[in-house]
Amino acid sequence: MANQEMTGAEIVIKALKDQGVEVIFGYPGGAVLPLYDEIFKQNSIRHILVRQEGGAVHAAEGYARSTGKPGVVLVTSGPGATNAVTGLADALMDSIPVICLTGQVATHMIGNDAFQEADTVGITRPVTKHNYLVKDANDLARTVHEAFYVATNGRPGPIVIDLPKDVQLASGKYLPPSMVKHKSYKPQVKGDLKAIKAAVKLISNAKRPIFYTGGGVINSGPKASKLLTQLVRLTGHPITNTLMGLGAYPASDKQFLGMLGMHGTYEANNAMHDCDVMVCIGARFDDRITGRLDAFSPKSKKIHIDIDPSSINKNIQVDIPIVGDVAHVLEDMIKVWKSEVHKPEAGATKKWWAQIQEWRAKDCLKFEQKGKAIKPQYALQRLNELTKGMDRYFTTEVGQHQMWAAQYLQFEEPNRWMTSGGLGTMGYGLPAAMGVQIAHPDALVVDVAGEASTMMNIQELSTILQYRLPVKVFILNNEYMGMVRQWQELLHGGRYSESYMESLPDFVKLAEAFGSTGLRCTDPDKVDDCIKEMIAIKGPVVVDMIVDKAENVFPMVPSGAAHNEMLLGGEADGAGPKVTSDGLSLV
């Protein structure tokens, strides 16, 4: 079989099968017809027809993040590829393994402005981890296998393979994955043992330690989350997660301080600011985490574990950098810790924990459900309570609802929380939920949405109908682009320029038009009933939860402020940290 000539399209599909691909999210077009013909002739790979290519990439991301396997996308040339760009950029920022096959015009037509031609490798170069244009059918198998290797090894990311139509039709030889080895890409997975020992010593001598962990722990696989939990419990130190890292450590645990960053908890951010040893694992000191750089955790020694050497010393200088895969490094750290070469003093962190309890006592996420309007926090708190213990997955769109979801939903396990962190892509959650539901057909998959974001990929309700996916879209409808409105209130004198959503659709009728069930809730007393009904319905549901329009997300570290300068909400006008002119220019 290996030496038999096959068509390019046959080679690609065979290579995907040999890579264990079960699902492709795609949309056909002229330049990929030979590939679609091959898909038609086989039964082992399932094709999910999305309604716009952007939806295909987000669906593949949802699939990848909930399974740990790479998501696969197939789109046509030109507009098919350009529509996929946002999803690719999203996957790059959040380090999600995605293989995106794009059709291309025939090789002899490339550069001639042919119909549906775009310079796909040129356009996607800055939004992919790597990309390929394959001009010879004999290179197809090697390229596909290499693409899977590169997408999933090291820091994961999206790969584009651009496939000219004549190459799909030409014949060539197939190579199995075992015969393909990458010649230059060999990421370091084992951490330097000397650095690991130094790190363990620092952690065991710490008086005010904190673990700050991110999406890298999740990307490293479920084992990494187990090891993290083990190490954190062994040390007895507090831990906070980034938005991307939620679920790597059980949210219900006593040592967990909640999320940190711009909308992180009071205790997490203050602990980050005042700590003496910071252990950053699989996170990247993003501006949403650090706040003002020169005021970031000024008193701490910093340890940074990351598989990507370019993440180290990018924004923050660290004292002990460890390049390696999180699971490998944690395994070594636990071994060193257990060998007890460095034994922490008993009660060394007692004062620190007392301080943390004091911060916790502020109860920074408290809110009052009073009056006639549903508080969005309340709706999410109830959603969390009423789905506890279920096999549940949450995706989100981007904005206020996303931050509330991160604050009020609790994640006990990794791979249960899919949100667009780095790029902040509105319209991510609905297609991502589709991808999650395809991978976990019997699970409860909820897209926590805002009415503005959800409109950005609303066409995917049609895909949900076609494949009878029981996705629940949980819209917190405040008739505003809530986060834009919040910033305009705080930073631009309450001039709500273009952030009010006029002429919104009737989401109940919209749901019905797409074969979903629509539920509307306007009364705080009926929130529970609405959520229970949503869960009980076997098929797809769109919940239109009409919430308080004026609610803001707190705590908030305003742009350009330090971690310990948080707005907690309810401050009298003018109280709290002022936004500086420097801060105003930050996003």
Binding site: V121, G122, R125, P126, K129, H130, L133, V150, R155, K183, S184, Y185, D308, P309, S310, I312, N313, K314, Q317
Partner: protein, 170 residues
């Protein structure tokens, strides 16, 4: 804060697969992340392995230079990266072709200067010379400066190429 703001000049050598788009990846990385390129040279250096060597002269703070090397390291077709400025002593050379259009005393003076700089006249007419000058960038720059009042009409520089001194290889 001086150590964070002081700007250094570094010469970085990168060994890459000689494949479609690799230069665009390197250049796109520099423009996309706002790094400087003072000069850049590229050519295939290994035919059996099909590798090209890119020499980049860049400037930045110590933190930025570290980032540049780390970011280059993320590019999939990159095999090796060497920072010739900190690895130890290295040899740097650049070549320029300088066209000088002048007559009389200026022409004689140009030729005399060229001799001192060991620049060769590789083309000549009654009214012009094309000088080939090779050396470290400062020498090339000095020569071009001297030609300015002597009828300098056109300059073409190759950018820097560099290797480690001694037995070290990239």
């Amino acid at each position: 804060m001086t150590e964070d703001t002081e700007i250094f000049r570094h010469t970085i050598s990168v060994l890459v697969d000689n494949e479609f788009g690799v230069l665009a990846r390197v250049v796109g990385l520099f423009s996309g992340r706002g790094y400087n390129i003072e000069s850049l040279t590229v050519a295939r250096v290994d035919e059996t392995e099909n590798l090209s060597r890119i020499t980049i002269v860049t400037t930045g703070t110590a933190m930025v230079i570290e980032q540049i090397k780390a970011q280059l390291g993320r590019l999939v077709p990159v095999h090796k990266i060497a920072d010739l400025t900190i690895d130890g002593p290295s040899v740097e050379r650049e070549m320029a072709l300088v066209k000088v259009v002048s007559k009389g005393e200026k022409r004689v003076e140009a030729l005399r200067m060229a001799d001192i700089f060991r620049a060769r006249a590789v083309d000549t007419t009654e009214d012009s010379f094309v000088f080939e000058v090779t050396g470290v960038p400062d020498k090339v720059k000095a020569f071009i400066g001297l030609m300015e009042p002597l009828g300098k009409a056109e300059v073409c520089r190759t950018g820097v190429v560099a290797v480690h001194r001694g037995t070290d290889v990239i």
